[in-house]
Amino acid sequence: MGLQAYLTLAAVVFCIGLFGTVTRRNTIGILLGIELMLNAVNINLVAFSRFRGDDTGMVFTLFAICITVAEVALGLAIVILLFRTRRSASADHIDWLRG
């Protein structure tokens, strides 16, 4: 398969993730959309790395995966905290900035 097939697949997955991120009401649903988008970017990085014969992209993908795990852990902690204060999972109810 050529590089074009991988890039097209990643673009489609990224747009599916974007759709989920902008349309979901639930905060955990929004997090799932962000996961899909990050995943698509990783496919691009690995594909470019393999087709250029340079391992920088793959090392960067490792970093991206680790940072995503930290992001999910913090995001879920924030979601749980918001549940405690607002008793709601909907992003529409989270519209205040003070603690």
């Binding site: 074009q4 697949l9 599916i16 995943n39 490792l62 549940f83």
Partner: protein, 164 residues
């Protein structure tokens, strides 16, 4: 070669189908399970690109760690709220329009650029190469990543601390 093409298409169709199920499903828990399927299909895509180590990390960290975390988050928040999580979408038409427009733009741009059609031959073991560059050229980002994970750990436990 034909096996590689068949594997790519099988994983690609699984990935796109599972991704659509994640963003369109009504049940939040099913969405998470379909996300796990999408992440495992992505690991398969990495395998067709000869990146075995990345595929293993993807399955262990992403499909294992992240999915466990999200399921745990759902269980905790459902207990806090005491009712089943609603998982509805809003502005579906506008969101679909934006996503479809971006997809059309990206696919059009990709199809107009001359791109490599064949992979260069492997110089050696890719995992060995990655390990070498991780501890020579990328030592500083590697160590900074350890600091970031520590900060993430502390931040998450601070946010989710019990109320006093």
């Amino acid at each position: 070669m034909t096996l590689e093409i068949a594997a790519f298409w099988a994983f690609a169709v699984t990935l796109v189908g599972a991704g659509l199920a994640v963003v369109l499903g009504k049940n939040l828990f099913h969405s998470v399970l379909f996300l796990a399927l999408a992440l495992i299909a992505t690991a398969g895509i990495f395998l067709t690109l000869d990146a075995e180590f990345i595929a293993a990390v993807q399955v262990l960290l992403y499909a294992g760690g992240v999915i466990t975390l999200v399921v745990f988050g759902i269980v905790v928040t459902e207990r806090l709220v005491g009712e089943k999580l609603s998982h509805v979408s809003r502005h579906v038409a506008a969101g679909g329009l934006v996503a479809a427009a971006l997809a059309a733009l990206l696919v059009r741009a990709i199809s107009h650029v001359p791109l490599a059609t064949t992979k260069p031959g492997l110089a050696g073991d890719l995992t060995r190469q990655m390990g070498t560059s991780l501890l020579t050229r990328f030592t500083l980002p590697f160590e900074l990543l350890a600091v970031l994970l520590l900060i993430g750990l502390l931040g998450a436990s601070y946010f989710a601390r019990p109320e006093d």
